[in-house]
Symmetry: C2
Amino acid sequence: MSKTKEVGAVRFAPVILAGGSGTRFWPRSRRARAKQVLTLEGERTMIQETLARLEPLATASDAWVITNAWLHDVIVEQLPKIPEKHVLAEPCARNTAPACALAAFLLEREAPETVLGIFPSDHVVADKKRFTEVIAAGVKLAAAGANIVVLGVKPTRPETGYGYIEQGSSAEGGTDGIHVHRVKSFREKPDMVTAETFLKAGNFAWNSGIFLWSAKTLTAAVREHAPEMAAILEKIAAEYGAKDFAEVFAREYPKCENISVDYAILEQQSAKGEGRSNIYCLPADFGWNDLGSWASLHEHLRDAEEDNVMDGATTGLFAIDASGNYVYAPGKTVALLGVEGLVVVETPDALLITTQERSQDVSKIVRAVHESGREDLI
Amino acid sequence: MSKTKEVGAVRFAPVILAGGSGTRFWPRSRRARAKQVLTLEGERTMIQETLARLEPLATASDAWVITNAWLHDVIVEQLPKIPEKHVLAEPCARNTAPACALAAFLLEREAPETVLGIFPSDHVVADKKRFTEVIAAGVKLAAAGANIVVLGVKPTRPETGYGYIEQGSSAEGGTDGIHVHRVKSFREKPDMVTAETFLKAGNFAWNSGIFLWSAKTLTAAVREHAPEMAAILEKIAAEYGAKDFAEVFAREYPKCENISVDYAILEQQSAKGEGRSNIYCLPADFGWNDLGSWASLHEHLRDAEEDNVMDGATTGLFAIDASGNYVYAPGKTVALLGVEGLVVVETPDALLITTQERSQDVSKIVRAVHESGREDLI
């Protein structure tokens, strides 16, 4: 195992969140093969890419994964460099607050100064060099005091599917030439009118879901803003490595409130005001894309020349009067005639036919499939 | 083998035309498995259905099939009751005039009074009892003199894909209570404006491609209107049953003009005027549908309740905000989300995605596939 890496003199532990339910990319994604463990782009799976882009900053043996029972084994297999005991399967989904906080309580026991980075496992990053620079700067800032660092994406459209970060004054000096803002507030997913005002205002960023803070800063924040959750997680963390851990984890974790870290911690903390909250926003200006739907994957994969995207090594394409279509049909020759903006995805047992526009509603299909009792397709 | 059947005292020999190129229902249909030999509806293939609905009127051993080299063997296999020597594979496609006329010259040699019925092998007929009545009446009329009987379909829309029959005066008496008109003219596939005037006029019918005439009437008409073709076909017919037949057929048949029976014979004959041409039109009022495209098959299969048609024994359908779609995806569960009027057809090697409206242009895709050298998909 390679030596522990440090950013500056700071120990840095990535915590990869991989609790996907496998609905957005249905029928390719399923509960047991969610987006994170698929090769949606490139040759590695999304979670393998996530770890690979962190390796310049952290040793894999310092990384953690919080996932679920369906994905646990495949993740252990896909990420052999992460110690198996660092891959934790939640007994049930409780959103991001308990997941992030659990990691913090575990690390607090062995190295409370460690900076902990929360990374979703299903995003793509085009500029890996810039990613390394920005995260390194963020880690230093997080280590410099009781600071909380969030990464914000400059919005390009009035997106209603993301939370927003309202940025306040520039933080003096910045870090390594990266412009840093204090955070004024966190905003939930807005309606379209609000999203448009955010876009015009210029000081709003999409919340990327990437957060950096030391273990002790986060545990302190959880104790302050979510004391019941803190008590439960301390109990679990105390058993880590002991023979009763699995049992305690299974019994206690479901008692945590089902809530995101944004609502439970960040919104509460930001309510103290930008001068006192110690929350800072760094720009996620490294070609970030969350691949939130088939349409978003199409956008990511297409090029200007050919906007019909044939995915999954199809054997040929014949297109007449057709544009803006995404087709995943492994091993097939595809013929498109007079169709626009469609999404067609074929697996050995299912065929999804929708539009770019409606592809964000694929979860509705998955719900209907579930309600019909067709668990073979979930 | 069962005894020869007669309609009244008339011997009746169906001639089934099965020279399809397999483009309209691509990718299900291919050159070697054209529409005629597929089970597009019901349990029998279309050519099996064609013979079955003729069996109340004719003995299968009196039937003939004119097809091509790609379909010959599968047709012999699918229609075991038709003598193999009655299944003729054209050396090359020459449209319907040489095919119909060849049958007439063959029959003229053994039984010139035989009424010969030309039947496309790729149409569906909903009312089989009515079909028997109308064809029986037509056979009698065709036998009653040098009469040519055509069957016309009452148009329901200004279709530009069919030829039209302009009907003239009512023929006195009719036949077995079926209303008969003399034919004034045959019209090629019209443009939309012309098709609309035809529809309004009320005396135009779609040309169903079903014709009835005695062998001697048709040979006489070919000798009169297409004497070169007549000479070639007489030469071929003279060799039928002899050892050189295949060779003579292969050498001589390609010399025939590539022309439809409508243009070569019927239009010429009708030019004599409705009083002298002896061409009569009977109503094809037996639920006729030519299944000329995926859209036409969809129209035929759908019911009022559920206008999404899942074909090919799919294992399930989940539809949200979806209507008017035709999907052929054997063995798959299909999910439709926010799509209308699509046609999606999946085979083990290909996936076609088009619309009901554009499905009549599928041959353009087949041409592109052919030009690219992908003969594996033709």
